[in-house]
């Protein structure tokens, strides 16, 4: 329990409306999108300014209370879970666009703003904010910064780190620092280092973001394949064309079935073994030629159908279906384990076949929906968390899939982050020296370890053996 004195100080900063302590009020902050890991906070504070955040953090630091910044809680790695006895600094009231500079194509925003709100807010200038995680209608840019979030269109436009120019950060001792500039600057790239630090370096409260001109035209095509292997081969041929599509997404039969049964059906063919969603953007004349070329490629690789969305509504429907895939999995079972391994794209066919084998070996069904252009897999395993033996089989399969990704030259996470879930798998990719270097960098920012403890790094006992993560029972859906 937090001391009454500490709660009093927190209330002085954020007011009674900005402090939540009753169990029923803090309950929703006990986990992020990974409901299998839970730990309720002692208190949740809702600051309204960088100064509020600084004062809150100072109070926590003085009292040696662990704390974690939180956006919308849509993360998929247990990255925003408070540690025991900790405080959640929920950034949702800091959600404004502070200024837009259409000439230099930048905007200054508070980090609690929802990702999509930035694009909506700058659309009148013909600009948009490129990072587009599937949760973009609810996730915050602060969460995107913490995780270096990606999304389908980062194949062409790059992940969050390519779109953040400067940050205002409250360091774990409460100090406020500005990092980076809207212009090019000198010195170590602290903005680049902070992005993707999973909330362990401090709490970003404001950012200058880079905006891009809205593409003149967009072409979204849907190709239907009789097998995943043929669809993967088509992706290779598309990449070999010498152009970078805006997005290349794939869904397998299991995912299509679930999506089409849900409220956000994309109109995908239910009898397809795999569909490929390919999007190009740019000048209209070029897009028509690309459509013809990609149509030819897909058909040569065995596609049984190839259609292009005729208008914005059709395009949005396809994307809505694709982006609703994780949520739709909730129809299948009480819990969902979404993985995020990455493999070199040319290894996709063999890796997908092996993932299928791993699933069968453990008696579980794996649905695949993923960023094919990037080789970023999202095997989705639906299970009943109340069944302990099933849960263990799911976790064992998950570990094997990540080992497989690393064994072919890939990585354990492409965009969801390490968080709590994959911390013990870090040793699959990194040596103790590599991890020690990362720890030493964390010490520079977060010397007392109070800022989001227990994330990213293997627990010492799990170290080297890459043990299974511990999960609570009866999780709920990981969406």
């Amino acid at each position: 329990m937090l001391e009454r004195k500490v709660l009093g100080k927190l209330e002085e900063v954020v007011g009674p409306q900005g402090l939540l302590v009753r169990p029923e009020h803090v309950l929703v902050y006990e986990c992020d999108g990974t409901t299998a890991f839970k730990s309720p906070p002692e208190a949740v504070v809702l600051p309204r300014s960088t100064e509020d955040v600084s004062r809150v953090v100072r109070i926590c630091a003085d009292a040696k209370i662990p704390f974690v910044g939180r956006g919308a809680g849509t993360g998929l790695s247990g990255g925003a879970i408070p540690s025991e006895g900790g405080v959640v600094v929920a950034m949702n009231r800091m959600n404004r666009i502070l200024s837009v500079d259409p000439i230099n194509r930048t905007a200054r925003v508070e980090t609690g703003i929802v990702n999509l709100e930035i694009s909506r807010g700058v659309a009148e200038h013909g600009l948009f904010f490129a990072p587009d995680p599937s949760s973009q209608s609810s996730c915050t840019v602060g969460g995107n910064i913490a995780e270096n979030a990606g999304g389908p269109h980062c194949f062409k436009y790059g992940a969050t780190t390519a779109h953040i120019l400067s940050l205002t950060v409250v360091l774990p001792n409460g100090e406020i620092v500005d990092l980076g500039e809207r212009r090019e600057t000198v010195g170590y790239d602290l903005v680049g280092l902070f992005i993707g630090s999973e909330g362990t370096f401090g709490i970003a409260t404001a950012a200058d973001v880079r905006l891009l001109p809205l593409p003149e035209a967009v072409k979204t095509c849907l190709a239907t394949f009789p097998s995943m292997v043929e669809a993967c081969e088509a992706v290779s041929d598309i990449v070999a064309l010498g152009i970078i599509p805006a997005a290349v997404e794939m869904m397998d039969r299991a995912t299509i079935e679930v999506v089409e049964a849900g409220a956000s059906a994309g109109g995908f063919p239910k009898d397809a073994e795999a569909v490929l969603l390919v999007e190009f953007d740019g000048a209209p004349a070029g897009l028509d030629r690309l459509e013809k070329e990609v149509d030819g490629i897909c058909r040569r690789r065995g596609a049984v159908a190839f259609v292009a969305a005729r208008d914005a509504r059709e395009r949005e429907k396809l994307w809505k279906g694709r982006k609703a895939a994780f949520g739709a999995m909730g129809r299948l079972s009480t819990d969902l384990y979404v993985q995020d391994g990455v493999v070199p794209r040319t290894r996709l066919p063999e890796v997908l076949a092996k993932v299928d084998e791993i699933g069968r070996k453990h008696g579980i069904r794996v649905a695949n929906v993923f960023h094919a252009g990037d080789g970023n897999l999202h095997p989705c395993i639906s299970y009943d968390g109340r069944d302990e033996s099933e849960k263990q089989r799911v976790l064992a399969a998950g570990k094997e899939i990540l080992e497989l990704c690393v064994s072919v030259g890939g990585a354990i996470t492409g965009e969801h982050g390490v968080g709590t879930e994959k911390s013990n798998y870090m040793s699959l990719s990194f040596s103790e020296s590599d991890l020690d270097l990362m720890r030493s960098i964390r010490e520079v920012w977060n010397p007392d370890g109070l800022c989001n403890p227990g994330k990213v790094f293997p627990t010492r006992q799990g170290c080297g053996e890459a043990g299974l993560p511990s999960m609570v029972s009866g999780g709920g859906a990981w969406i």
């Binding site: 170590y188 354990i412 390490v418 040596s431």
Partner: protein, 418 residues
């Protein structure tokens, strides 16, 4: 260590005294040049230097060695030139793994076979190494987001100051496992670690490249056209502005706006047609083939300190894109100017050492900065060549102290004399 083991260690590192062909740093030469033939030999060498407290300047082709503050100490150059070659290249993955000492041109040739490339245009590409370009964070004139060293470095193997081998990132195009240490090393100028091998993202070669030169008598009209262009077309791959003194040698006239469009044919020519409709230039010329190549080559080499005379100052300004032309016009009174307004970069050179202070002041007035890339030793000893102290300098100092506690890697040379 015994004398014998030191001797064998130095032999492994191909240690030699510096020769006339080894560049000095502002008049200082090291006692030893170390050119190890393997990452293991480099690790042993660095570990030895660390134990002995020897100041080591990591370098590749030494093409950017002149940039930086005066070294506070200098004992050895640790060169990566024998860590060379493409390790693995799979065009379908859009990635390449390469030893850090590989000359950039060699890498580019290997990638060309897969119809791919790295979108950088460094000067002296036959000597500049991949690791050196990353450490300097200086890819040349192409700086579009998505094309910079920070965007393309996917992972690295490096040696810490004490010789410990570490790796970060990975070989795949998308990866968030662990901290983004790739970002930390890009542009760290050999003050944090010695790169031994890197993994890079590559790009398909563009289907079409179009070069257009538009001449203006009045730089204000050029700036106005630049603003209209920015509002109307997707950013071209390169936008450069050359003042009359620079273009005189290129058989062009007036102030010249040079645009390079790349991409699929319809897009590049469509963007160009749109731009052509907006430009109110006195003359617009589309440059083709060797003529275009020559203009870009000359620009790439501007302002090479080697081409300048003794005592010349080369200065790089950094501003917001919207202020770039204003700074260029101000600076033009002191020397020839080349600006990359979309990147907010302005290059100039001057023979008046005192002129640097004026250049810096005018840049600071626009909330910009001015870096003294090269200049006489007497001037460099008076200033921090990186100009204004950057935000977050306290954290930068702590990172340097944590990663290089004995301060042996390029001591004194970085921003704020780190």
């Amino acid at each position: 260590m015994t004398r014998g083991s030191v001797r064998s260690l130095l032999a492994e590192a191909n240690a030699r005294p510096p020769t006339a062909s080894d560049p000095d740093i502002d008049g200082m030469k090291p006692s030893l040049v170390l050119e190890p033939g393997s990452a293991e030999a480099a690790a042993a060498t660095l570990s030895f230097c660390h134990r002995e407290g020897l100041a080591v300047v990591p370098c590749g082709g030494t093409t950017r060695l002149h940039v930086g503050n005066l070294p506070s100490r200098l004992d050895c150059y640790l060169r990566s030139i024998h860590l060379s070659g493409v390790v693995s290249y799979q065009p379908g993955d859009l990635t390449v793994s390469v030893e850090a000492g590989t000359p950039f041109r060699e890498l580019q040739s290997a990638l060309a076979e897969g119809k791919q490339f790295i979108p950088w245009d460094p000067a002296a590409a036959d000597r500049a190494t991949v690791g050196g370009l990353l450490a300097a964070g200086e890819p040349g004139m192409r700086r579009a987001p998505g094309a910079r060293p920070r965007d393309l470095l996917l992972g690295f193997h490096a040696l810490l100051a004490d010789g410990t081998a570490v790796a970060a990132g990975g070989r795949v195009v998308k990866n968030v496992s662990g901290y983004e240490l790739t970002k930390l090393l890009v542009g760290s100028r050999g003050t944090l670690a010695f790169l031994t091998r890197v993994h890079l993202r590559v790009r398909p070669l563009p289907e079409t490249t179009l070069t257009v030169a538009a001449s203006f008598d009045d730089p204000k009209r050029l700036a106005a056209d630049l603003s209209s262009l920015r509002a109307a077309v997707a950013p071209p791959e390169v936008v450069a502005v050359l003042d009359p003194a620079v273009v005189a040698s290129l058989s062009l006239a007036g102030w010249v706006l040079l645009l390079r469009f790349e991409g699929i044919a319809e897009e590049a020519s469509g963007d160009w047609r749109k731009a052509e409709g907006l430009l109110r230039a006195d003359e617009v010329t589309r440059l083709e083939g060797p003529e275009a190549d020559e203009v870009w080559r000359r620009l790439r080499d501007f302002p090479s300190p080697a081409s300048g005379s003794e005592g010349e100052c080369v200065v790089l300004g950094q501003t917001l894109p919207s202020d770039a032309m204003r700074l260029a016009a101000t600076w033009q009174s002191q020397g020839p100017v080349v600006a990359y307004p979309e990147a907010g970069r302005i290059y100039t050179k001057t023979h008046e050492p005192e002129g640097y202070f004026h250049l810096l002041e005018t840049a600071l007035d626009l909330s910009g900065n001015a870096i003294l890339e090269s200049g006489p030793q007497a001037l460099k000893s008076q200033v921090d060549v990186f100009g204004e102290t950057p935000r977050g300098f306290g954290l930068m100092s702590k990172i340097k102290e944590k990663m290089d506690p004995k301060n042996i890697l390029s001591p004194g040379r970085f921003v704020g004399r780190l």
